[in-house]
């Protein structure tokens, strides 16, 4: 990171050889009460190549270890974020994690190329039904709109923004529906490791 790189020179960087797999970063302050997030996490956790990282369990006091987190980010090709949508945004600790770890000179800025070329993927559960997240729904904006800050974060860091995975009306789903969602989720995560990035497919 100390050597100055020309913008065009950066692709996957020198870390490419050592990196692999998905860093599945889960942020849920009350996971014990969330059926949907538990089901999703359980399904994805078992996959080979997935590093499961439970933020609220690791940093209950919000005292995030910046160095350790940056090392984790460097060691993975895919940064996956799984969280419930709170006030149209991420839970507080996930935001804190961005604030503390994704620093200028590391993640962005002239010298900040550490994450360039990696994929950023958001998996999100919502309380409202799908139709609420619509220009004519009571939330007035789409999920894509609400996730713009993350999308722009990916852009600023030179990352590839993957199509988000959203489970709407999570609390109302029965066990069978949840199981189906979990299956889809698992397949999606697996695909992130095998298929080329959305951007490269021209999405």
């Amino acid at each position: 990171m100390t050597d100055q790189l020309e913008p065009g020179e950066v692709s996957t960087g020198t870390e490419a050889a050592a990196t692999s797999g998905v860093l599945l970063t889960l942020a849920h302050p009350a996971l014990e009460r969330s059926r949907a997030n538990r089901a999703l996490a359980k399904a994805a956790k078992g996959l080979a190549g997935v590093t499961f990282h439970d933020l609220y369990e690791t940093y209950p006091d919000f005292a995030i270890d910046i160095e350790a987190e940056q090392e984790k980010l460097l060691a993975h090709d895919v940064i996956a974020l799984q969280f419930p949508l709170y006030w149209y945004s991420t839970p507080a600790l996930l935001k804190e994690w961005f604030d503390l770890v994704w620093l200028h000179g590391f993640a962005y800025g002239i010298d900040g190329n550490a994450l360039a070329g990696k994929r950023l993927f958001a998996a999100c559960t919502t309380g409202g039904a799908a139709k609420a997240y619509h220009a004519h729904g009571y939330n007035r904006f789409s999920m894509d709109d609400f996730l713009r800050p993350l999308e722009q974060t990916a852009y600023l860091c030179g990352m590839v923004w993957e199509t988000p995975f959203v489970v709407h009306g999570a609390a109302l789903k029965n066990d069978e529906d949840l199981k189906a969602e979990a299956g889809r989720y698992k397949a999606r995560i697996a695909s992130l490791m095998t298929t080329p990035a959305d951007a490269e497919m021209g999405a």
Partner: protein, 638 residues
């Protein structure tokens, strides 16, 4: 004998014998007494006549009473009036009468018998208080009762001096005036009413002087900042008061006590205490040595049976009277026995009174010599008697096991958690768990603590948690977790070890004293430990940073850094724990590394932010550069 040589003998004897006696569990008083016997004229004969030294040493008792007075607020004294006048008075009268009656049975005329009774009713303030102090009993009810009696005995000496000459049956050889105690009295020749007035005047001088004179004088001296003069002034007070009291025929010790009480509320109390304390220790030691040296071993050898009979008779009679009275005044049997044992000897007043009575023709010289020896031996036997009392008490405790400690029914047969130790630490952990709905069974071995907790409505079971049968009764087989929060390092390790061996799957958490203890516990099978002071010390440190001007969140993050680094080094050093040298080296290294890392981390803190995060300096710079670049590009475009 030259002074230096004499000092050499006394100090040498004390320095050698007292630590040895203490190590053997005999206590320092017995050590001094033995030293005295050894160097006395009747054994090694390293010192000669004791009278001069004795007088000097008796001043130790005066200082002792002064120091005790300093600890007694006047209100405390008032609260003790029942103990002093009721119990104390009954003791002096009761013991005098009992001993007198017994003496009459042995064939003494009633006057002599009564005199002997009064003389022997006295106990030894110095020995009693020193012994109780060493046993840690002086502050409790036993100490208070004993002290009340001793105080009244000091008072009782005054009327005794008046009464004893009237009991004379032998033609007085020398006039009583020559005898030790009343020796300095300037008022003895005055009529009784004048004597009474002079006593009142003396007390008035002590109280008034202490109230209004001493404080300004001390303030003046304190401002001069001459420490030794302050000490000299403190000694001057004691000596002065003692002399005034002696002039009017009162006990100097009593006067010193009075002066102490008067000064107990002054701001110089602590300073007086610490200045005079060393004199008390040395002089009392000297006093005990002279008592030991005064034991006439020749007499003991010539009439051993008579002497043994006298000592045993004296001590058992005093014990019985005192025990009976204490019970009558509502003391529990154990406490009554302790007070009675402590006070069962004859006192230093007996020496003074005996000399006085011989002079007054009340008691014959041979009898007096015998009684002096008996009193001295009984004083020497007091520490032994106290040890005996403790042994018997301990044996009685052992003979009636598990009666006092009531383990309590374990009604909750399926607790989630068993908490061993419910003191300052266990209570907090336990309350957190209970508040979260977990059922816990609590064991503690401190009866007072349990009583207290039960009064607050908490269920705590009595028991030594290191006993596996008790843990089984408490339901450890079905419990998910054992929390060891004992206040005892060794017992904590022991319990973790045995519980781990018996229940390999049980989750065991333990309170650790420090790092080494923590490693020890982990090595013995604890799943997790917490150093008992770590978190609270960090919390206080955080508060300190805030008070030093940090914003709360910055202080909090600084503490978080510290915690993380410390825990990291705890894990890193774990493998080499036990290899003393390597561990010390490595931990010094680790401490340095940690300090450095901490400093690096904290150096990144800019005012208002922490640890690199929210540090926008580099971004600001980049944005500034970009703005300049844009500006120059615009310039170029124009």
């Amino acid at each position: 004998m030259p002074f230096l040589l004499q000092a050499l003998v006394y100090l040498g004897a004390a320095v050698i014998s007292v630590p040895i006696a203490k190590r053997l569990g005999l206590g320092s008083v017995l050590g001094y007494l033995i030293a005295g016997v050894l160097i006395g004229p009747f054994a090694l004969s390293l010192v000669g006549e004791q009278t001069d030294v004795m007088k000097f040493a008796e001043f130790g008792v005066v200082i002792l009473l002064f120091l005790i007075g300093l600890e007694v607020q006047p209100s405390t004294l008032w609260d003790m009036r029942k103990a002093i006048f009721g119990f104390g008075g009954a003791q002096v009268v009761g013991t005098s009468v009992a001993i007198a009656g017994f003496s009459m049975l042995l064939g003494l005329p009633w006057q002599t018998a009564l005199a002997v009774g009064m003389v022997l009713a006295m106990s030894s303030t110095a020995i009693v208080l020193q012994t109780l102090d060493e046993k840690g009993l002086r502050q409790g009810p036993v100490g208070r009762a004993a002290f009340g009696i001793l105080l009244l005995q000091d008072l009782a000496v005054i009327p005794m001096f008046a009464l004893l000459p009237t009991l004379a049956t032998i033609a007085p050889s020398v006039h009583a005036e020559a005898a030790g105690h009343g020796g300095g009295s300037l008022v003895a020749h005055l009529p009784t009413w004048a004597q009474g007035l002079s006593v009142l005047a003396a007390v008035g001088i002590v109280v008034g002087g202490g109230r209004y004179l001493v404080r300004p004088i001390f303030r003046f001296i304190a401002e001069a900042r001459l420490r030794e003069i302050f000490t000299a002034a403190a000694l001057l007070i004691v000596v002065g008061v003692a002399s005034i009291m002696q002039m009017v025929g009162l006990s100097p010790a009593l006067g010193a006590f009075l002066a102490g009480v008067v000064l107990a509320e002054s701001e110089f109390r602590r300073e007086l205490e610490s200045d005079i304390e060393p004199f008390r220790g040395l002089l009392l030691g000297l006093f005990f040595i002279t008592v030991g040296a005064g034991i006439d071993l020749g007499l003991v050898a010539r009439q051993p049976l008579v002497l043994i009979g006298l000592v045993v008779g004296l001590m058992s009679l005093k014990f019985l009277v005192m025990f009976g009275l204490a019970r009558l005044f509502g003391a529990p049997a154990r406490g009554a026995a302790a007070v009675a044992t402590a006070l069962a000897q004859g006192g230093e007043f007996a020496f003074v009174l005996l000399t006085f009575t011989v002079g007054a023709g009340v008691i014959g010289a041979t009898l007096a010599a015998l009684l002096t020896a008996a009193v001295a031996v009984s004083m020497a036997l007091t520490p032994v008697a106290m040890i005996l009392y403790e042994r018997i008490a301990a044996m009685m405790d052992a003979a009636i096991p598990k009666v006092v400690p009531d383990t309590g029914e374990f009604d909750d047969s399926e607790p989630d958690i068993i908490i061993a130790g419910f003191g300052r630490f266990g209570q907090i952990t336990g309350r957190l768990l209970t508040a979260n709905g977990f059922r816990s069974t609590v064991l503690d071995s401190d009866i007072e603590q349990i009583d207290l907790l039960r009064r607050f409505g908490r269920r705590v079971h009595y028991g030594d948690a290191t006993r596996m049968d008790l843990l089984r009764a408490a339901g450890i087989e079905r419990a998910r977790m054992l929390i060891v929060a004992l206040d005892d390092r060794e017992k904590t390790v022991e319990l973790v070890e045995t519980a781990r061996k018996a229940y390999p799957d049980l989750v065991i958490l333990a309170r650790a004293w420090d790092r080494r203890h923590a490693y020890d516990l982990l090595a013995n099978g604890a799943d997790a430990v917490e150093r008992e002071t770590f978190e609270s010390a960090l919390a206080l440190g955080t508060t300190a940073l805030q008070k030093l001007g940090y914003r709360a969140h910055r202080a909090y993050r600084a503490a978080s850094f510290f915690r993380r680094h410390d825990r990291k080094s705890f894990e890193e050093l774990r493998p080499i724990w036990g290899q003393e040298e390597a561990y010390i080296l490595a931990s010094r290294d680790a401490a340095q590394t940690m300090d450095r890392l901490l400093a690096t981390d904290l150096a990144r803190l800019r005012p208002g932010d922490a640890g690199g995060a929210w540090d926008t300096a580099s971004l600001d710079e980049e944005l500034k550069e970009r703005a300049e670049r844009d500006a120059s590009r615009r310039e170029g475009a124009k």
